[in-house]
Symmetry: C2
Subunit: 66 residues, 2 copies
């Protein structure tokens, strides 16, 4: 399954790495692809992955999910 | 002694931390203060600290010293 999160506030490669790293720690997440320009974060995950956990993982890094 | 480097390309707190951390690794550097808005990086250092090493430390993190 794939979910696209819209994330605000990412400005650089460090931000991209922070968001990718945090999402990959969420249970059931297999892959993450961040587009810095658009803020689109594509998350490939199993059926059991929890989208609230995904959102929280991003927010804990200091970014807004809109 | 204090040297102010003008650094381009820092956009966020991660960038600030990367530049501060790299400069603190330079021999003779005692303290670093980054102003993200202006790009001014104030480096407090001993007389023996090498300014070329400071510049290189910043550049290795992917930022330009102008």
């Amino acid at each position: 399954m794939e979910t696209t999160l819209k994330v605000e506030g990412m400005t650089c490669g460090h931000c991209k790495s922070a968001v990718e790293g945090a999402l990959k720690e969420v249970d059931g997440v297999n892959a993450v692809d961040v587009d810095l320009e658009t803020g689109d974060v594509k998350v490939s995950h199993s059926e059991t992955a929890n989208k609230v956990e995904m959102r929280e993982a991003v927010e804990e890094q200091g970014y807004d999910v809109v």
